[in-house]
C-alpha cells in the first residue's frame, strides 16, 4: 500500500463506513408527541439526527447504531425503540 508521509487522512471520510448495520433496536418517531425541542439531535453520539423541513427531527439510519439514548432521554416519549428487522 502507498502511504502518505505522516499518515495524512481526508476530513470526514468515516462517512464511507455505514454503521447502521450495528443496530439491533431501531428508534422510531411518533411525531404527534414531539415538541421539536431538539434534545435527540443534541445527544446522539453519532451526529446522525438532524432537523428536517417541518422542524421535526429525522434519523439517518445509515449511521444510527441503535444505542437508545435519544429515546431514553426524550422528555415526551416521542421515540420508540423497536426490534430491528433485516
Amino acid at each position: 500500500m502507498r502511504l502518505c508521509i505522516g499518515g495524512i487522512v481526508e476530513p470526514g471520510t468515516t462517512l464511507a463506513n455505514k454503521t447502521g448495520g450495528w443496530r439491533s433496536f431501531k428508534p422510531e418517531y411518533h411525531y404527534e408527541r414531539c415538541t421539536k425541542c431538539g434534545l435527540c439531535e443534541l445527544l446522539c453520539p453519532e451526529s446522525c439526527v438532524a432537523r428536517g423541513d417541518e422542524g421535526y427531527y429525522e434519523i439517518d439510519y445509515d449511521y444510527c447504531k441503535g444505542c437508545g439514548i435519544c429515546a431514553h432521554e426524550c422528555p415526551t416519549g416521542t421515540i420508540e425503540m423497536v426490534l430491528e428487522v433485516k
Binding site: 464511507a16 453520539p45 432537523r51 437508545g68
Partner: protein
Amino acid sequence: MNQRSPKTQPLFAPGHRGCAGCCNAMAVKFILRAIGSDCIVATPTGCTEVFSTPYPESAWNVPWIHSLFDNIAAVSSGIESALKALGREGETKVVTIAGDGATVDIGLQALSGAFERGHNITYICIDNEAYMNTGVQRSSGTPYAASTTTSPPGKRSIGNPLGKKNVPEIMVAHGSPYVATTSVAYPKDVMRKVKKAVETRGPTYVHIQAPCTTGWGFDTHLTVEIGKLAVKTGLWPLLEITNGEITGVHRIRKKLPVEEYLRRQRRYRHLFTTPEGEEVIRELQEIADRNAEHYELEL
C-alpha cells in the same frame, strides 16, 4: 438524507467506530460544537483517536493531529508557538482533547510543562475513568473501589484501592486562569465551559466526566442518566475556578444517596454482595458528603 443547516453540520462525522452510546463521541461533539470549525486539535492515543481515525478514514472535520500520550501537551505547545513565530498568534484556537490515562498518568509531565510555560492553549480531558481502549485498566482517574481488569475485586480486594487523583486542582495550582469540571450528561454546561476556556487567554483546562457503557458496565441508552447520577449524588461536582477562585458551582436540588449511582454499574456490583462492600459504600458516601460540604453543592 435530511437537510443539515450549517449550524448542525457535524464537525465530527458519523461513521466513526465508537461503541453504541459512546461518551467520548458525545464529548467531542459538544466540544467542537462549542468551539466551531476554527481550531487545531491534538489528540493522543486512546478510544477517541482509535475510533475516529481508522486509516485511511477520519471523522474529524477540523484540522487534527494525533501524537503520543507522553507529549500531547507539548505538541499543542508547539503548534501555538509556531503560530506565534509566523506572526499568526491568536488566529485560531489550539486545543488538546485527551483521555484520562493520557492526562492524569502518562502525559501529566508534558501537561505540567505546557501550563508552567503559559501557552495559550486549552487542554480538555475526557475522563471515562480508566484505560478503555486497551480493555479497561485502572488509571489514577479511576475512582475508589471501582472494578477494572487491573483492580479486580476478590477475597483480598475491594476493587481499586486508591482514590481519584484531583487533576483539576493540580492545574489550578499551576496558576491556570480558567479550570472547569463538567460532564457529558450536561451538554450545555460542557459547551459553555469549553467556550469560556478557549476564549480565556493562557493555558486553560476542562475536565469532562464521561460514563463509558463498555468499561463501567451499563446499557447503551444510559450514558446520560448515569452521568447525571454522578453529579446528583455529589460524587462528581461541576465547578468553575477562575484565577484560583471558585466562581461557579452546579447546585443540586436533592442530593441522592451514592447507592443510586453505584448499583447501576457493573464496576461496583461487588460492593452489593459482601459486608466489606457495605463499609466501602459508606466510605464512598463520605466522599460525596465531603464534596457537598466543601463545594456547598446543595441548594
